[in-house]
Amino acid sequence: MAVLQLPEWTALAPALILAGTALILFLIDSIDPHSTNRTLLAGTAVLGSLSSLAVAVWYTAAGVGATGIDNYGVIDLLGGQFVVDQLALYFMIIIAVVTALVAVASHDYLRDHTYQAEYYSLVMLAATGMSTMAASNSLVTIFIALELTSLPSYALVAILKDNRGSVEAGLKYFLIGAVSSAIFVYGVSLVYGATGSLQLTNIAAVLESGDGAVAEMDGLLGLGILMLIGGIAFKTASVPFHFWAPEAYEGAPAPIAAFLSSASKAAGFVLAFRVFTTAFPLEATTAVIGVDWTLAFVILAIVTMTVGNFAAATQENVKRMLAYSSIGHAGYVLIGLAGLSADGGELVMGAAMMHLLVYGFMNTGAFLFVGLAEYWGVGRAFEDYNGLSTQAPFACGAMAIFMFSLAGVPPFGGFWSKYLLYSATLEAAADNTVLLVLAAALVINSALSLYYYSRLVKALWIEEPILDRDSLAQPTALYAAIVAAAVMTVVILPAFGPIADAATEAAAAIVTQ
Amino acid sequence: MSGMASVPLQDTVLLPERLGNLTGLDQFGLAGELLATLIGAIFVGSLMLTMTALAGPWAKRKITASFTDRISINQIGPAGIGIIIADAVRMLSKELIVPENADRPAWDLAPIVVVSSALLGFAVIPMGNGIQLADPEVGLAYVFAVSGIASLGLVMAGYASANKYSMLGGLRAVAQNVAYEIPLVVTGMSVVIFAGTLQMGEIVAAQGETFVTIVGIDVPRWYALVNPFAFVLFLVANFAEVGRNPFDTPEAPTEIVAGYQTEYSSVYFVLIYLGEFLHIFLGGAIIATIFLGGPAGPVLPGIVWFIIKIWAVFFATQWLRSAVPRVRIDQLIEIGWKGLLVLAFANLVLTAVIVGLIA
C-alpha cells in the first residue's frame, strides 16, 4: 500500500482535508461574496467531507493505527501531540459521515439564507476541530480542537441572525460553553501542575511512577480531573452541563442541531475515551487521588440517561424531545467509560463507540427530518406533525425508522448497538456489580424512550392532520440526506460484524495500552 | 564611525543597580535596592516629562511656525522658552469644568491612564550610558503592550465625557489603534527575526555589529539600513498609532472639535496633552531602539544620540503635521487593513524567506 510512502503528517489527512475545504470555501466566498450558487458551496462541502470519509476508511482498511505485523502501527505526530490510531480513525469516520449528511441537507434548508459560504465553512471548521479532537493526544491539542469545534458551533447555532430563537440558542450555548471551557482549561492547568506534563502518555507515566510532586498534589489532581469531566460533560451534553442542549438544538437550524447532537457529541466522547484511558490509568490514578474515577461516570451515566429520557417524555416540541433524547443517549454512551472499572471494559467501550456510529446516522436523520418539517413550515409541536405521512410517505417512513432505531427496537441499528452495550455491561458486571445497576438503567430507560419516540411515529402515521396543508415541496437534497441516513440505519445491520470488530479493537487498543 | 563597535554601547548593568552602587544604597539590602530603583524610575520619568514639556508648549509651536513661515512665541524668555512655565501655571490654575452626565471615575482616570501607559513604556528602553530601568526578555512585546493601553485611556475619556464628539473621537482612536497596531507589531516582528530576541538591550547590541563597509567606513547593522522597507512601514504605522498627521482623525478639530479631549480642561487637559506627546516620544524611542541602533552614535555620549534620534522622529511628526493633509476616517481604516497590513505581512514573509535562504 502507498501509505508507507506518504509522509507521516498525512496520517491526519481526514482532518486536514476538512480544514482545506473550509479554506477553499472561504476563498470561493472571497472571489464572489454575493454568490448565490448554493450547489457549488454545498457541493464543495459535501465533496470535502466525503473525501475525508474516504481517506479515513481507506486508512482503516489499510491498517493504519492497527497493531500487528502487517499493519502500520499507531502513528505519533509532532512529538506525540497527535496520535492516529484506530480510535481516531473510527471517530473521524463518524464525524465525516455526519458532516456529509448535514452538508447535503443544508443545501435546501438554507435556500434563502444570506451567509451560505460562511455557513459551510464554519461547518467544515467545526468538523475539522472534531476530527482533530479524535487524534489529539495532548491536553494542549485537545483544548485547541475543543475550541475549534466550539467556536464555529456557537456561530452556527446563532447564524439565523434575525430569528430570536436562534440568537437566544446561540447565546445560551455560548455562555455555557464559555464557562465550561474555562473550567476545562483550569482543570488542565491543575493536572499540569500535578504532573508537569500535558501529553497524555506522559501524564500516565508520571502517575504510574508515583513521583513526589504528584503524591503531594493529589488534591489538585483530583480537582483537575473533576474539572476535565465538567468540560467533557459540556461537549457531550451530559449532566451537569446539559442545560444548553435543549435550547441550542431547538433554536439552531435543524441541520446544525443534527450536527451538534451527533458529530459534536461523538467528538466529546472520543475526547473522554482517550483522556481517561490514556492519561489516567485507573489503578495508578486511584492510587494517587484515592477515588476511582469510573464512579463519577457511573453516576453521570445513570443521571444523564434518566434526566434525558424523563425530560424527553414530557416535551410537546419535537425538536426539544429529540434534544432531550440526545441527552439520554449521551448517558448510554457514558456507560462505556463507567464500564472501564471492570474486566471486559474495552468491550463496553467498544459497544459505546458502536452506539455512537449508529447514533450518527439515526439521530442526524431525525434532526434532518425536523429540518425538512421546518423547511415545509409545518409547526414544531407533535400535533403539527400529524398525518404528514399522507403527503410525504418516504420522509416519514425514514423518520419512523429513526424513531424506532433510537428507541432500540429491532431490527434497526439502534437495537444492535444498545444490545451490545447491554450485554457487554452485563458481562463486565460479573466483575463489578455496580454495573448491573447501569445495565438495568439502560433497559428501563430504553423501554421508557419507546413511549415518546413512538408518539412521534403515531403523529406522523396514524393521527389525522389538524389543519389542511398545502402540498409539500420535495427538496431533493434534504430528501436524499434523510433517505441516505435511513438506509444506513438499516443497511448497517449486515455490516455490523466489521464495525463491531473495528470498534472493539480500537477500544481494546487504548484501554490496554 | 570606525571603532564604534568596540565601545561597549550596552551596559549590562542597569540603572537601578548602578544607582545603588553610586549612592551606596545597595548596602541597605532590599529597602535600599527598592529606593535606588525608585530613584531611577523618578529619573527616567522626569527626563521624559521634561522633554515633553519642552516639546508640547514650545517646540511644537516653533516648528509649525517655521513650516508655515510665521513667528511664534517669542516674548517670554529666550526664543519664548519661558512659555513652558507660563503655560504650566496657567493650565494648572484653570478651573476644572466637569461636564454634566460625566462618568466620574472613568473621566478622572482617563488622563492618568494615558500618561502612565506612555511612561511605562520607557522602562525598558535603553537610552545609552546605562540609562535603562529594566531589560526583561520580553522587552519589545512589553513596549507594544503598554503603549496599547493608551487607547483604553482614550476611549475612557471619550466615553466618560458624555459628549458626542468625545465619544466619536474615542471610538475613532480605538478603530485607528486597532487598525495600525497589527502592521506595527508585525513589522516589529520582522526585526525580531534578525535579532532573534525580544530583549531591548540585545536588539540594540545586535545592531552594533558591522553591516557593510563602504570606503573604509563600517556601516553599523542598523535595521533601518538592513530592511528600509520595514523601517518605512513601521514609521507610518507608528504615526497612525500615536495619532499624528496624517492620521489624527481622533482629534480632527475640523470634524469633531477635539475628539476625546473636547470636555477636558485644567490639569486634566494638560495630562492628556502630555500623554500624547509622551506617546510620540515613546514611538520615537521604539523606532530608535529597534531601527536606529538605540543610543549608538559616534563621538557624543549615548544618551545624547538617543535624544537626538527621538527628537528626529518628533520633528518628523511635526513636519508631516504641516505638510500632509488629514485622511478621512474611512480612508484611514482602509489604508490600515487593506494596505499596511498586507504590506506588513509581505514584509514579514519576505524577510523570513530571505533570511532563511541566506542562512
Partner: protein
C-alpha cells in the same frame, strides 16, 4: 439459498410496491406475492429434512454465514426449515397472497403503502419461522410488529389509535421480558455456549443446563427464565389473562390485517413457545405442567364464554381465537407425540380457518358496512356463496370431521388425554367442553345473521361478494378440507420433527 430468495423477493417486492402508484399497487403486490407462494410450495415439495431443527435434525435448505462477534458470542445468519417450520412458512405465504387479494375491495387509500407493508410483514414472518439464530429470529420477530402497528393504526377502524398502541405496547413489553430472560439464560450457560445459534443453546440446555448467573443457581435461573419467556410468549399467543389486546386489535384492524394477525401472528407465539420453552426446558415443562394446562383450559373456556357474549362478528371470531390457542397450549403441555404434533397441526389449521372466517366477515362488512349480529339477518339471501363459505368455516371451527379443525382437535385431545400430566383426563374433558360452547356461539351468531328474512336497511345495494374475494375464500376452504381429509399431508412431517422433543420427555 432458497429461504434467502423467499425473503428477498418479499422485501424487494415491498420496496417496489411502496414506490409504485396507488392505482396498481394491489395487483402488483398480488403478482409479487405469488412468487414466494409458489416458491414455498416448491420448498414443500422438495423438503428433505428430518428430525427437529434444534435437536440435531437434518435441516432442509439450511444456510449459515458468520455475522458478528459480540464479546464471547458470535451471531450468525442461520436459517433452515424442519417439519415444524415448513408448514408455517407455507401457511404464511399463502395467507399473505390471499390477504392481498382480500384487500382489493376495502383498502381505498394509500394503497401502495398498505401493500408494501403487507409484503414487508410477509418477509419477516418467513424469517421468524426460518431463523435458527436467536438474534436473527428476534430481529424478524420484532420487525413484524412495526408494520402491523402501522396497518392497524392507519387503515383501522374508529378506535384504531388505541388498538394500535395497545397492541404495540403489549407485544413489545412482552418481547422485552422474553429477550432479557433469554439473554440471561445464554449468559447463565457460561462457556458451554459460544454463539446464539438455537441448536447449540438447546444442546447446552439439555446437557446440563445453566450454571447460574448473578447469584442465582442454575436450576433457579432456568425456572425464572422459563417463566419469563412463557409470559413473554403468552402475550403474543395470547393466553388469558394477557389476551385483552387481541379483540381490540382485531376489531379495529382492516380485514387483511386481521387475517394475518389471527392466521400467522398468533402462531408466532405458539411457535416460539414450542421452539423455546417446550424444546429447551423439558424439566421446567414437567414442573409447571399443571398450571400451564390449567391456564390452557381456562383460555379455552373463558375465550369461548367471552365469544358467547359478543355481538360483533369480528369480536366473536377474535375471542374464538383465544379459545383455539388454548387448545394449542394444551397440546403442547401434554408433551406427547400427538399432543405437540396436534398443537402444531392446530397452528396451521387455525391459521387457515380463522383466516377464512375473518375474510368472510370482511366480505360481509364490505357489503353491509356493519358487523353487528343484531343488525343483520338473512344474509344468505343476498350473498349466498360468501355466507356458505362462512358457514363452512364455522363448522371447521367447531371441529366438523373431514375438516382440518377436526383433525387438529382430535390429535390434541388424544395426545392430552394420554399425557402424563396429573389430572390429564380432567383437563382434556374440560377443554372438550369448550367445543360445545364454540358450537353454541357460532351457531347462535350464524342463525341470527345468515338465516331468516333479510332486514338490513341501507341506502346502498347489498349484493354479491366480488369474485376475487370468493375465490380466495374457496382456496382456503379447499386447503382446510384437504388437511381434514388427509392430515398426513403435513402431520407426518410434523411428528417427525416433534419426536426428538417428546422422546424422554414423556411423563
Amino acid at each position: 439459498m432458497m429461504i434467502e430468495a423467499l425473503i428477498a423477493v418479499a422485501l424487494i417486492g415491498a420496496l417496489v410496491t411502496f414506490i409504485a402508484p396507488n392505482r396498481i399497487a394491489g395487483k402488483l403486490a398480488f403478482a409479487i406475492s405469488l412468487v414466494p407462494a409458489a416458491l414455498s410450495l416448491w420448498l414443500f415439495a422438495a423438503f428433505d429434512g428430518s428430525g427437529n431443527a434444534l435437536r440435531d435434525g437434518e435441516l432442509a435448505f439450511e444456510s449459515q454465514a458468520a455475522w458478528l462477534e459480540v464479546g464471547n458470542y458470535s451471531i450468525s445468519w442461520f436459517v433452515g426449515l424442519d417439519g415444524i417450520s415448513l408448514p408455517l412458512v407455507v401457511l404464511t405465504t399463502i395467507l399473505c397472497t390471499l390477504a392481498i387479494v382480500s384487500s382489493w375491495t376495502p383498502i381505498d387509500e394509500r394503497e401502495s403503502q398498505f401493500y408494501g407493508l403487507i409484503l414487508f410483514i410477509e418477509a419477516n414472518l418467513i424469517g421468524v419461522f426460518a431463523a435458527l439464530d436467536f438474534f436473527l429470529w428476534f430481529v424478524f420477530w420484532e420487525a413484524v410488529l412495526i408494520p402491523m402497528y402501522l396497518l392497524i393504526g392507519i387503515w383501522g377502524g374508529p378506535r384504531r389509535k388505541y388498538a394500535a398502541i395497545k397492541f404495540f405496547v403489549y407485544t413489545n413489553v412482552a418481547s422485552l421480558v422474553m429477550f432479557g430472560a433469554f439473554i440471561a439464560l445464554v449468559f447463565g450457560l457460561g462457556d458451554s455456549v459460544t454463539s446464539f445459534a438455537l441448536p447449540e443453546i438447546t444442546t447446552a440446555m439439555l446437557d446440563g443446563g445453566p450454571e447460574g448467573l448473578f447469584g442465582l443457581g442454575g436450576t433457579t435461573l432456568a425456572s425464572v427464565v422459563f417463566v419469563a419467556m412463557f409470559l413473554g410468549f403468552a402475550v403474543k399467543v395470547p393466553i388469558v389473562p394477557f389476551h385483552t389486546w387481541l379483540p381490540d386489535a382485531h376489531v379495529e384492524a382492516p380485514t387483511p390485517a386481521s387475517v394475518l394477525l389471527a392466521g400467522v401472528l398468533l402462531k408466532m407465539g405458539t411457535y416460539a413457545l414450542l421452539r423455546f420453552n417446550f424444546t429447551m426446558f423439558p424439566d421446567q415443562v414437567a414442573t409447571y405442567a399443571v398450571p400451564i394446562a390449567a391456564i390452557a383450559v381456562i383460555s379455552v373456556i373463558y375465550g369461548a364464554m367471552l365469544a358467547l357474549a359478543q355481538t360483533d362478528l369480528k369480536r366473536i371470531v377474535a375471542y374464538s381465537s383465544v379459545s383455539s390457542m388454548g387448545y394449542v397450549i394444551l397440546g403442547l403441555v401434554a408433551y406427547t407425540q400427538f399432543g405437540v404434533g396436534g398443537a402444531t397441526f392446530q397452528m396451521v389449521s387455525h391459521g387457515l380457518i380463522s383466516g377464512l372466517m375473518f375474510m368472510a366477515v370482511g366480505v360481509i362488512y364490505n357489503a353491509t358496512h356493519t358487523r353487528m349480529v343484531t343488525d343483520m339477518s338473512g344474509m344468505a339471501d343476498r350473498m349466498p356463496i360468501a355466507v356458505g363459505i362462512l358457514i363452512a368455516g364455522a363448522f371447521g371451527y367447531m371441529g366438523l370431521p373431514l375438516m382440518s379443525g377436526f383433525a387438529a382437535e382430535y390429535f390434541i385431545f388424544f395426545g392430552a388425554f394420554g399425557s402424563g400430566i396429573p389430572y390429564a383426563p380432567l383437563f382434556t374433558a374440560l377443554a372438550m367442553f369448550g367445543i360445545v360452547i364454540v358450537a353454541g356461539y357460532l351457531l347462535f351468531a350464524l342463525q341470527r345473521t345468515v338465516f331468516g328474512p333479510y332486514r338490513l336497511e341501507t341506502d346502498y345495494e347489498v349484493g354479491r361478494a366480488p369474485v376475487h374475494d370468493v375465490a380466495s375464500m374457496v382456496v382456503l376452504l379447499g386447503l382446510i378440507i384437504a388437511l381434514g381429509v388427509a392430515p398426513d399431508l403435513i402431520f407426518d412431517m410434523i411428528t417427525d420433527a416433534i419426536d426428538p422433543i417428546v422422546q424422554g420427555g414423556e411423563f
